[in-house]
C-alpha cells in the first residue's frame, strides 16, 4: 500500500471527484472489492470508516508513541539518578541523594514530551510532510471535493467498468493523469 515506490511514479491514474463523503466511501469499497487498485482517496476532513472501506490496516503509530514514551521515561530516570546521586551528589536539606519519589514529576513530563514529539515527527516523516513537499494536490480537495484515485497499473485496468462505477456514484468530474507523485 505504499504510494512511494519509485516504479509507481510512472503509473497512470484516473481520478473521480464526488461531492459527499458517503458516495466516496461506497465507491471506494466497491472499487476495491471489484478488483481495482486504489491509489488513495482524498477528502477535506477525515472520514471515519474509510480505512476499512479502502482496506487500510490499522496504523502502528500508537506503538511508536508508546516506545517513545518509554524512552523518555528511561532517559528521565537515568538523567536524574545519575546527576543527583552519582556524578555530583549534593546534600540538599538532608534529603537522600537518590530521592526517587521527587524525580517522578520530571519522569512524567519527559515521557509525555518524548512520546508527543517523536510520534508527530514520525507522522511527518511517514507522510512526507515537510516544507518543500511537492505532492499532487487535487483541486477543491481541501475545500469540499472528495476524490478517488485508481491506479492503471497494467492492461487489466478496465476503463469502461470504472466509468460505469463512477456514473453509478454520481461523479461530478473524472480526470486522468500521467504520474502520481
Amino acid at each position: 500500500m505504499r504510494a512511494t515506490e519509485p516504479s509507481e511514479k510512472t503509473v497512470r491514474y484516473t481520478a473521480a471527484f464526488f461531492d459527499n463523503e458517503h458516495d466516496l466511501m461506497a465507491i471506494a469499497a466497491e472499487a476495491r472489492l471489484r478488483g481495482f487498485e486504489i491509489q488513495d482517496v482524498f477528502s477535506p476532513y477525515p472520514i471515519h470508516g474509510m480505512d476499512r472501506a479502502v482496506g487500510l490496516e490499522r496504523s502502528r503509530l500508537g506503538w511508536i508513541a508508546f516506545a517513545a514514551g518509554a524512552l523518555g521515561l528511561i532517559s528521565a530516570i537515568l538523567l536524574q539518578v545519575w546527576t543527583s546521586a552519582y556524578d555530583w551528589p549534593l546534600n540538599v536539606g538532608g534529603k537522600p541523594f537518590n530521592s526517587f519519589p521527587l524525580f517522578v514529576p520530571v519522569m512524567f513530563e519527559l515521557t509525555v514530551l518524548f512520546s508527543g514529539l517523536i510520534s508527530i515527527g514520525v507522522l511527518f516523516m511517514m507522510n512526507r510532510l515537510w516544507i518543500f513537499s511537492k505532492k499532487k494536490i487535487f483541486e477543491g480537495v481541501t475545500d469540499d471535493h472528495f476524490v478517488l484515485v485508481l491506479k492503471q497499473r497494467d492492461a487489466s485496468f478496465d476503463a469502461e467498468k470504472a466509468a460505469r462505477l463512477f456514473k453509478k456514484y454520481r461523479a461530478i468530474k473524472v480526470m486522468e493523469g500521467d504520474k502520481f507523485v
Binding site: 476499512r52 503509530l61 543527583s84 494536490i137
Partner: protein, 478 residues
C-alpha cells in the same frame, strides 16, 4: 439499487449479492439521531465553511481590529518599559520586601498558566470524551493557551533577576563541575512541566492547523500569502493515508495532553504545597489549583470568543449552545473551587494549629480582607448564577460573569501568595505589599502581550478548525 446493479453487471448473481453485502458492511457508518440539536448553523455546507473562515483572513482587517490592536500594542509597550526597568535596575524596582518575596510576579505567572489550561482541556479532554461541540472553539482556545503560557513564562524569567542566564535551569553539561540542577525542587519541576506543556500544546495546535493551512493555501491569490501557507501546510493533500495516521497521532497527543494538563497546575501548586508556610502547606492544593485553572481558562475563552463571534460574524459556528456548554463547565469547576475554599477553611480550623487558624482569620479579616472577599464572591458566589438558563444564554450576562471570574481568579493567586507571606511566624517582620508602577506595568504589559498575540492569530490563521467543523456538519442531518 437494482437499476444501478444492472448498469454494472458482473459475475454471477450470487457473487453479486455477496459483494453488495460486503460493501454495505464496510461502509456502514453510525447514524446520529435526528432528534439531536445540530452543532452548527444548519444551512452551512462545506464550501460555506471554507468561504466564511478563509474569507476572514483574506479581507483587510476591520477598523475595530486596528483599534484593539493599537491599544494592545500600547499596553505591551508599557510592559516592555517595565521589563527594561526591571532588568536594568533589578528586582528592587518591584514592591517586594524581606517578608514578601513573592507577589505580583508569581501571581501573574500562576494566573496566566491557569488561563492556559482551557485550550488543552477543550482540545484533549473533550476530544477523548467525544464532545463534538468542541470543534468550533478548540482552535482559538488552543491559541489562547499558547499565548497565555508565553505570558506566564515572562514572569519567572524576569523574577530570576538575571534573565539572560535563565538557561541555567536546564540540566546541561557545563564548565562549573558539571554542577547539575536540583531535581528535588518544585521550581525545577515547573520548568519541565511548563516547557513540556508549551511544546506539546504547540505541536497539537499546529497539527490541527495543517489541513486548514492547506485550505488557505489552495485559495490564496497573492504570492506572499501563497508562499506563507505553502510552507506552513507542508504539502498537505488530504489523502486518506495521511488522514488515517493524522487521526492516530491526534488521538495519541490527546491522550498525552490530558494527564499533562492535570500535571502542570499540580506541579505549580507544589511550589506552594511543599513549603512549610501556613496557608500553603496543604494536600488539597493540586486538585484545587487544577479546577481553578480550568475555571479561569474557560472564563477567559468565553470572554474572548463573545466579541470575536460578534465582530467576525461567527454566530453560526459558535452558537448560544456552545456558550451554554462553556458556562456549564465554568459552573462545575467554579463549584469545585468554591468547595475547595470551604474545605480549606474547615481544615484550617479543624487542624487546631494556631498558625493555620491565624492565617485563615487574617485572610478573612486582615489588611487584605478586601482581596479575599473579591476572590470569594467572584469565584464561589457569582458563578452560581450559571445555574439559571438566562445567565447561560444572554450574552451580556455571560460576559459580565466571565469577567468577574477572571478578576476573581487573579485575586485568588494574590490572596494565596501575599496573605500567607505578609504575616509570618515572627510579628516583628510583618509587612504589607504595595505594588510599584513597575509591578503594575508588567501586569498591564502581560495583557498587552496576550491581546496583541491573539489579534495577530485572528489575522493569520483560520480561527475555527475548518476540517473538524466540516466533519460534524452532518451531525444531526442524516
Amino acid at each position: 439499487m437494482a437499476t444501478a446493479l444492472k448498469d454494472i453487471e458482473f459475475q454471477n448473481a450470487e457473487e453479486e449479492i455477496r459483494l453488495q453485502g460486503e460493501i454495505e458492511r464496510v461502509t456502514a457508518h453510525p447514524v446520529y439521531s435526528p432528534l439531536r440539536e445540530p452543532l452548527i448553523d444548519e444551512s452551512k455546507s462545506c464550501s460555506d465553511v471554507t468561504n466564511d473562515i478563509c474569507g476572514l483572513l483574506e479581507r483587510p482587517p476591520l477598523r475595530g481590529w486596528w483599534i484593539l490592536f493599537s491599544i494592545s500594542v500600547v499596553l505591551l509597550a508599557l510592559g516592555m518599559i517595565a521589563a527594561v526597568n526591571t532588568v536594568t535596575f533589578g528586582i528592587g524596582t518591584w514592591g517586594l520586601n524581606k517578608t514578601i518575596g513573592w507577589a505580583f510576579g508569581i501571581t501573574n505567572f500562576v494566573f496566566w498558566i491557569g488561563i492556559g489550561h482551557a485550550g488543552t482541556f477543550i482540545s484533549a479532554i473533550l476530544y477523548l470524551f467525544g464532545q463534538k461541540w468542541r470543534t468550533s472553539i478548540n482552535r482559538s482556545a488552543e491559541a489562547m493557551t499558547l499565548i497565555a503560557v508565553m505570558c506566564a513564562g515572562v514572569f519567572p524569567i524576569l523574577h530570576m533577576g538575571r534573565p539572560w542566564l535563565f538557561y541555567w535551569i536546564m540540566p546541561y553539561p557545563n564548565t562549573r563541575g558539571s554542577l547539575w540542577v536540583n531535581f528535588r525542587s518544585p521550581l525545577l519541576w515547573d520548568f519541565f512541566a511548563i516547557s513540556t506543556y508549551f511544546t506539546i500544546s504547540l505541536v497539537f495546535w499546529y497539527l490541527g492547523l495543517v489541513p486548514d493551512l492547506a485550505t488557505a493555501r489552495d485559495r490564496a491569490k497573492s504570492k506572499w500569502r501563497r508562499i506563507f501557507y505553502t510552507i506552513l501546510s507542508l504539502g498537505w493533500n488530504g489523502g486518506n493515508r495521511t488522514w488515517s495516521r493524522y487521526e492516530t497521532v491526534y488521538g495519541v497527543l490527546a491522550a498525552l495532553a490530558t494527564p499533562l494538563v492535570l500535571s502542570v497546575h499540580s506541579i505549580v501548586s507544589f511550589d506552594f504545597a511543599t513549603s512549610l508556610v501556613p496557608g500553603w502547606h496543604s494536600t488539597i492544593f493540586p486538585p484545587y489549583f487544577v479546577a481553578g485553572a480550568v475555571f479561569s481558562g474557560f472564563a477567559m475563552v468565553t470572554t474572548l470568543l463573545i466579541p470575536v463571534r460578534k465582530v467576525m460574524h461567527l454566530e453560526g459556528y459558535i452558537t448560544i449552545q456552545h456558550l451554554d456548554n462553556m458556562c456549564k463547565i465554568t459552573l462545575l469547576t467554579g463549584s469545585i473551587v468554591g468547595l475547595s475554599y470551604l474545605t480549606e477553611l474547615f481544615i484550617g480550623f479543624y487542624s487546631g494549629n494556631p498558625n493555620e487558624i491565624f492565617v485563615i482569620l487574617n485572610r478573612m479579616g486582615g489588611p487584605y480582607a478586601w482581596a479575599y472577599w473579591i476572590m470569594f464572591s467572584c469565584n464561589a458566589i457569582f458563578p452560581q448564577l450559571f445555574w439559571f438558563k438566562a445567565f447561560r444564554t444572554k450574552i451580556p450576562l455571560i460576559l459580565g460573569l466571565c469577567i468577574l471570574v477572571n478578576v476573581g481568579m487573579w485575586f485568588e493567586r494574590f490572596v494565596i501568595i501575599v496573605t500567607s507571606l505578609h504575616r509570618d511566624y515572627l510579628p516583628s517582620s510583618w509587612a504589607i505589599f504595595i505594588p510599584t508602577l513597575t509591578d503594575l506595568g508588567l501586569l498591564v504589559g502581560s495583557f498587552g502581550l496576550f491581546f496583541t498575540a491573539f489579534l495577530l492569530f485572528l489575522r493569520l490563521f483560520p480561527v475555527i478548525s475548518m476540517n473538524e467543523v466540516k466533519g460534524v456538519l452532518h451531525y444531526a442531518r442524516d
